[in-house]
Amino acid sequence: MTVISPFWTNLDQIFVLLQQWIESFFPLWLQPAVGSVLGVVAIVAAFPGIFALTTVLERKGLGRMQNRLGPNRVGPLGILQPVADGIKSLTKEDIVPLTADAAVHFLAPVVLVIAVFLGFAVLPIGRNMVLANLDAGLLFFFAIGASTELSIFMAGWSSRNKYSLLGAMRAVAQMISYEVPLLLSSVVAVMITGSLSTVKIVEAQSGFTGIFPHWYVFTPWGFAGFTLFVIAALAETNRSPFDLPEGESELVAGYFTEYSGFKFALFFLGEYLGMFSIAGFAITLFLGGWGAPLSVLSFIPSWAWFFAKLFCAICFFIWLRGTLPRLRQDQLMNFAWKFMLPMSLLNLLVAAAWRFLPEGPSRWVVCSAVLLAAYVLLGRVLMRHQHLGARSYRYAD
């Protein structure tokens, strides 16, 4: 590691030092509790802040993609728009339909937001800046991710409305069928690192050869795993091409049709936080967590790199939302079971082969050839099965 001046290392560990400095005010037996409370406060403050920023970023980004400005009336350049949205959703009347099942109707957004916040516990934001360094951190994240489906079902069922029931059924079916490729594509990184702990996965990727980092995404199986993980992540958080549950055009607003006021805002908070946590995990697993992209730049603090990569991930989500139309429910399912699953299983084999093949270009060629061939073949079979394809048109005489 090149020698980094103490100023930069302090900057890198600034939050850790801050935490220790605050802890020093408390008696010894209370210090671990205070430390974790500070960590929780940091997360609960930082990520909803990013949520507010993302709502503006999303609307301005979509606007710019559509040749228009996006919100710029509330505050300079529209920065205060989330504050306005927040106040609006707080002051809006919270209507609960008469026939709705009040208890479950109320609990649904609560369960969603709790589950999503729990997901951040094992996310390594910076060098030794992780709230809970669990030995099976990744398994914890996927376990919590699985319970968000329950809250969506509760929302859909409790509002006793035809549209929200259809939307909830679709959402749960979609999330379950995309959870399998999500898990399998992340197992690849676990296999090579040999541990389920997110901190160890990031450390395994922190070395440099020359100036290039050892990120998993630069290996054939890593790149395939990354794309599969991102596609499954899009489906898991009901984003862009997979935002069928709240498909505005058919079912008015999907499972949160009957929600208004702050509960509606809570659902959005839950969706966006889900997006950040899963993007955070894509970064941890494949993009080297808080590692610097070039060895020369590794003096910049680690948490800065994490948030920079998170920012790029958010922009990618927005970019997709501005471009792609929506998939239909059965096509969505076909894609999950007939393309994503076989590809991620194959990716497991390729990763295993990578681990036992000797170093050097030969394993590069073999692995990438296998993956590419499978991708092209599977893609063509999938397209030809529904006889989709470009068409040429004739003209009348």
Binding site: F140, G145, A146, E149
Partner: protein
Amino acid sequence: MIFGLSLVFILTSILTVAGALAAALLRNLVHCALSLTVTFAGLALLYLQLDAQFAGFAQILIYIGAVAILVVFAILLTRGSGIPEHRSFSSSWLAGLVISAGVFSLLSWAVIESIPASAARATPQLTVQKIGQALMSSYVLPLEIVAVLLTVALIGAVIVAMPESSKGGAK
């Protein structure tokens, strides 16, 4: 530390028992299913207190993530989510009480018998790595059998769920 049990343990066990009772006694089927999920969560917390991380997370992933959703879907698709008219207590509740008391006493006897033996040894330091190696080395055969069993069950479920029309001719 009340009666030699930590406060957190008492809270979680109350939560679990309350969830189980609610699952049995509530009228609305979906409410029962949701309180069943609370019980599963309580169990997971108990595992985590015993520092069995892998078991706790697996419990959350499998039971809350899949089984609870399965139960709820089953209730929904079979139109069972309406409020049942008849009382939830069957006429022969007394016999039920006797049987459950019997089972409870059997279980508690077994638990009390085993406490002195295990208290001597310290709980082994368990990591996920050890579980993985154990699965792959000494328990590899049962793992494979379970895998085959699950696959067969999966295929069976698909065939049962296949619509009649397509089961006959090739779709």
